[in-house]
Symmetry: C2
Subunit: 395 residues, 2 copies
């Protein structure tokens, strides 16, 4: 198997297996570690949800204790270990300690992520039994197994590899619903992502690169407006490739984040299309983001995208309700570059071309507010009966 | 036909007919007027959407010009006259002038409401032709015809009659989607409501009663989180019954608003159940409202209500993402009064009783934040394939 995703950068190993958290024998436990088990700089962003899951609290505390360094991250799917109280926090810490004992590092040098159902105690017996074979299986070719083991309702693994001058950035992620992350900026899904690079960079500089990348990618997607209790993005830097150009590193991290974020939206539950909502001409950057998010999270707009119906009036209504500065006579709307509304009113356009633009699996919508120079984008998807089917019952 | 709804209070007449705005011969034009065509005190609340429809702008301006008095309101369905620019504003004014000429009052003594598709010019020819027969048809028994003529996707008319000591309050309304009004308080559907009373009360005092009633009713419902361009509530006071107790009037107005708001949610597009989300124990009233609205507007929660799945973890996650003060170890959740989560974790409960509570067409969910004394409620509904069917294509 090729060395894709998290083990493509030199200095990392990974593993994944089925330990029995999921009842059906599907892979549910993953581990990414440094090849020598020694701690390296790690940047991290976490959900801003005030009901953070136990693994979020544990990982955050461990990074604070180590000054931003870790040797490994253990990830489980099938159970979010969220809304599980003090017992859940103990379970998260115990998981880290078990892995640390296998790897020969300190417990606070191990990070932990969970994804799955909320409110159910983490089943520790299968996890305890799984940690030893998982650790023993760590290998440069284990990235794909790890990427599969973190999935929940995702239909397939999400991986990326971005080469830079003298280094590279690899990554894996999961996320198909409860997907509207808010980690760096203002608000947000369960999404988990682990990125790795062989660049040598101190934790503080690594965090700057990750924050910028996350703000423009994971924090700018919203499939269903639900900000998860477990969202986590981690970026490990092994340093094997030596010191690199920081701008090039930031660019590669941003690109890796963007690729994983787009894979999530394309795999969103029930979705038939990814929709890029671009707001231009806003009076401020905040206004642009607020307006784009309001349109992206509108049930009514999402239904019309599913139906291929260019009902731009709903977009104008959501813009007007967004809280952004708005003038009804200045707004314009385009589907796939074809302007259907200008100066606040309908304009003649090629209906066949609009229908064609809406028929594909990717749609670009531009709403111009005509008030300033600020721009923002949110990547979202349509709302379909498949989403309801997926989410009407979980038990 | 009984004198129900808007003509139950003494001093009012109404009419409704099909003028041809809707292509299928369904009733689409309504008029409510004072019996003597003389202006009376009118209180009003309008959408806070910054893309208000032309009729909202016209009605607002007319009330400002008259100091809160009007003789009539003309309402059309089938076209929202929203996102129609200067031509739309002219059309709204012309409609008022046409009605005024028929009634023998001043144009600014006529108010106007529209509901239907956004972004399409109001078809004036049928409207012009319809105003004369509409005005000629004004009668005490015309309330039901008026209530039917304002409907869009509603499955039936929404009317109410609340008796008070020595007076009464009547009302009619429409609204089945784009339903999350925000008129009085912070944020909001197209919903239209016309209320009448025979009480004698000055405009300023009438507005106080209406604001309180709207805040606790229309502004506390959200079927789909979409705040319309056209939301309007009007309350006419004929004075025929003389001066009444103001507290009793406010109570009757609040009750009439609540009854109409509940009828809207019960008729929401595709919904199988009305869901009352009550947040208790919040640190502030703002926090309580924000938390209740966040849960009420969550696609994931709405799907689980449709499926009858008591997946309270989603509720906790939305509470944590709402921006309200939140402590993960203090939250509790109950379905139909049956506690499923306390102290932030799952508690043993009667699963059969929860299933029964969720199977009906009304569901009460309580989320206690455990932080203070503030309480708020939002009345909402579930999200179903029927909603998507209704909204995926409009043309």
């Amino acid at each position: 198997m090729a060395r894709v995703s998290v083990t493509a950068p030199a200095g990392f190993v990974a593993a994944g297996l089925a330990c029995g958290i999921k009842p059906d024998g599907v892979a549910d436990l993953a581990l990414v570690a440094t090849a020598d088990r020694r701690p390296v700089p790690v940047a991290a962003t976490f959900t801003t949800n005030r009901a953070p899951a136990a693994p979020v609290a544990a990982s955050r505390a461990h990074l604070a204790a180590t000054g931003g360094r870790a040797s490994a991250v253990v990830l489980n799917s099938g159970n979010a270990n969220a809304a599980t109280g003090a017992a859940g926090r103990n379970d998260a810490e115990r998981t880290c300690a078990l892995v640390a004992a296998e790897l020969g590092c300190a417990p606070e040098e191990v990070l932990v992520c969970s994804t799955g159902l909320i409110g159910i105690p983490l089943p520790m017996d299968p996890l305890v039994a799984g940690v030893a074979p998982l650790s023993a299986g760590l290998a440069p070719d284990g990235a794909s197994a790890a990427a599969r083991a973190i999935l929940t309702t995702d239909t397939g693994p999400k991986q990326t590899l971005v080469p830079g001058p003298g280094f590279c950035v690899g990554g894996m992620a999961k996320g198909a619903a409860m997907l509207a992350p808010a980690m760096v900026g203002p608000p947000s899904a369960t999404m988990l992502a682990v990125l790795t690079t062989d660049a040598a960079v101190e934790p503080a500089r690594l965090q700057v690169a990750l924050d910028a990348g996350v703000a423009a990618s994971f924090d700018a997607i919203s499939t269903d407006g639900a900000c998860s209790t477990n969202d986590t993005v981690l970026l490990f830097a092994s340093g094997v490739a030596g010191v690199v150009d920081e701008t090039a590193l930031a660019a590669a991290v941003a690109l890796a984040c963007a690729e994983l974020a787009e894979q999530m939206v394309l795999d969103a539950e029930g979705a038939t299309k990814a929709v890029r909502v671009r707001v231009t001409g806003a009076a401020s950057a905040d206004d642009a983001r607020r307006a784009a998010r309001r349109v992206a999270e509108s049930q009514l707009c999402k239904c019309s995208w599913y139906g291929g119906d260019p009902y731009w009036g709903r977009i104008v209504s959501e813009l007007g309700a967004s809280g952004a500065a708005f003038h009804p006579d200045r707004v314009g709307v385009a589907y796939g570059g074809i302007v259907v509304c200008a100066g606040g009113v309908a304009v003649a356009h090629d209906g066949g071309a609009v229908a064609t633009a809406m028929a594909g699996d990717r749609l670009e919508i531009t709403a111009d507010l005509g008030l300033g120079d600020a721009v923002a984008e949110i990547l979202t998807c349509d709302l379909t009966p498949g989403y309801i089917d997926e989410n009407m019952r979980t038990s």
